[in-house]
């Protein structure tokens, strides 16, 4: 009994460690590869870089303009995240806690958006954005990102708002709280875990968004407004023609590190937020 337990125990621990290696090693490897030159990358995947080649990083940062794209991405993601959370929470709250005719239709209208492939709407979307004069602008991208994040945000937050206890709300209403006051002063603070949870989802989603900017950020002068994924793809595609692997890996590292650092800094909040949001 005891020894069988030991064997099972050893096995379990091996699997645990193995998975930890699986999740960290490829990332380390990518970061290390960012210091190698093309020859080393292509011929000796296992070896360490023969020296630290920071020029790969500067090539990616300067020549591929990743520095500028970084800033653009921060602006767009910041704006879009704020707008998404604001509008998403408002809609979800009303849909969750007020009954009115058509509320189910509106709800399904939002949720249905999760089930349709985005690239089919690209061409019509292009014209909508163009007619509004928002092509190649940060504002246009912010509005579009927000609109396309609403389905999941509303779906998630509706479920969340529904679980909040109604006693508090009733008590507040008795105290003469207005609907607005109730929302901002009582319900929103109570919904914090859910908001954080879906906020993280949206942050990651917006940061990694790829198809939308390609279609909407184009034409004369659009490049100065590009976001990081566009710059990165440009690098990746270019690699297919010019074989600049080292700059590609440096670009990958540049795109990956800030999110990883942010995550490590806030991992407690991220994890508890995500979990709380999904379990309520």
């Amino acid at each position: 009994m005891k020894s069988r337990f030991r064997v099972a125990n050893a096995f379990s621990h091996t699997v645990l460690v193995g998975w930890a290696v699986l999740t960290t090693f490829p990332l380390l490897w990518a970061i290390l590869s960012a210091f190698k030159d093309d020859n080393e990358i292509l011929t000796s995947a296992w070896s360490l870089p023969s020296k630290l080649r920071f020029e790969n990083w500067s090539r990616a940062w300067n020549e591929a303009h990743l520095g500028r794209y970084f800033l653009n991405t921060a602006i767009v993601v910041g704006g879009a995240l704020t707008l998404t959370m604001l509008l998403g929470a408002m809609a979800a709250y009303v849909l969750a806690r007020y009954t009115f005719r058509g509320s189910r239709v509106v709800y399904f209208l939002f949720v249905g958006g999760m089930m349709f492939p985005v690239f089919l709407s690209l061409v019509p979307l292009f014209f909508v954005v163009k007619n509004l004069g928002l092509l190649s602008t940060h504002l246009g991208l912010i509005l579009v990102y927000s609109a396309y994040s609403l389905p999941f945000t509303v779906f998630f937050l509706t479920a969340f708002f529904r679980t909040l206890p109604s006693e508090v709300a009733e008590a507040a209403m008795m105290d003469g709280c207005t609907h607005y006051g109730l929302y901002f002063r009582v319900m929103l603070p109570m919904a914090r875990p859910g908001l954080i949870s879906v906020g993280i989802f949206n942050l990651l989603g917006h940061w990694n968004q790829y198809v939308l900017p390609i279609v909407l950020m184009q034409g004369e002068g659009a490049e100065k407004n590009w976001v990081l994924t566009q710059g990165l793809t440009a690098l990746a595609v270019n690699q297919g023609y010019a074989g600049d692997y080292s700059a590609l890996f440096a670009g990958l590292a540049i795109a990956m590190l800030p999110v990883l650092v942010l995550y490590l800094a806030f991992q407690r909040q991220v994890q508890s937020g995500l979990a709380a949001g999904h379990l309520k």
Binding site: F116, P124, S166, Y210
Partner: protein, 302 residues
């Protein structure tokens, strides 16, 4: 009060709805309309062809081949992800040897929780490029590892073999999703009273038994939610496949999302591609309806 209530609902619902209608619904409606045409996407001209695209769809063996793969993912991705995540979550929560302090997680549980989540914060593009290099036959680290430990015979040109390529991609999907569900299940297990596990231990229950008899039943709700999310993910799967295998070799790792993308952006048959999209929409819808049934909660009315 009534009036205030109505105004409130309107002010809260109209702005999001307006944004959504302009940027999402109107383009989608047009996509539905396009699915009934032979539009080729490069000029404003097209003709309505009625249901022709849909009857073509039924006979398109490439579509069926892709759907078959999606069906496999639909089963395998949730099963593998959930089983792995459950195992890890229970190790991290109650896997430690029970001593005087009672049931606790294995040593280093906090570390594992953090690193298991890593793939979740990376974009699909990064994950795809990374794994393509991992699987590379000569310079990749997978074969490098196998050769190092003397298993040269197992080193394969992974993505070049039709029998393996699809499963390699599936493995990446599982890899990138497990971390999230570990965190999810882990949190859910925190709310299970420790005494239950301690009692089970005292009764001499083994780990597998504990998992089967206590954890799974108590976590059943969360597992269902997980299944729904993963199922929705499984119907798409486009980005990762496109980056890693492009659907090849042959069409062995094709998925419906990639079929749609190729039809639209490769062949410029937007009418037909939209029809595939509409079919996908209804497919996901049916999965989601099941999902909503499972997760339906009582509504608190004001």
């Amino acid at each position: 009060m009534r009036h205030g209530r109505r105004l409130f609902v309107l002010t809260f619902l109209l702005p999001p709805l307006a944004l959504y209608a302009v940027f999402v619904i109107s383009p989608y409606l047009q996509a539905f309309q396009i699915s009934l045409t032979n539009w080729r996407g490069l000029s404003p001209e097209y003709e309505y062809v009625g249901p022709e695209n849909f009857s073509r769809l039924l006979q398109d063996h490439y579509v069926w081949n892709a759907l078959k793969n999606n069906a496999i993912i639909l089963v395998a991705l949730p099963v593998l992800t959930i089983v792995l995540a459950l195992f890890f979550a229970s190790m991290l929560t109650i896997g430690g040897r029970s001593g005087k302090a009672g049931v606790r997680g294995v040593r280093g549980a906090a570390f594992y929780r953090v690193v298991y989540f890593f793939p979740q914060v990376l974009s699909v593009a990064i994950i795809g490029v990374l794994w393509k290099e991992v699987y590379a036959p000569r310079s990749g680290i997978l074969n490098g590892f196998l050769r190092t430990i003397g298993l040269d015979g197992l080193a394969k040109p992974w993505l070049g073999v039709p029998d393996f390529a699809f499963w390699c991609v599936l493995a990446v999907m599982v890899w990138s999703n497990v971390g999230f569900y570990v965190v999810l299940f882990n949190a859910a297990m925190q709310s299970i009273p420790r005494e239950i596990y301690e009692a089970a231990m005292l009764d001499g229950a083994e780990r597998g038994e504990t998992l089967r008899k206590i954890t799974v039943p108590l976590l059943w709700d969360t597992i269902q939610v997980a299944w729904v999310y993963l199922a929705i993910l499984a119907i798409d799967g486009f980005a990762i496949v496109q980056i890693i295998t492009l659907g090849g070799p042959g069409n062995s790792s094709d998925v419906i999302g990639l079929r749609l993308y190729d039809t639209a952006m490769g062949e410029y048959k937007f009418g037909y591609a939209s029809a595939i999209g509409v079919a996908m929409f209804f497919l996901t819808l049916s999965v989601a309806v099941v999902a909503l049934r499972l997760t339906r909660r009582d509504r608190i009315e004001l």
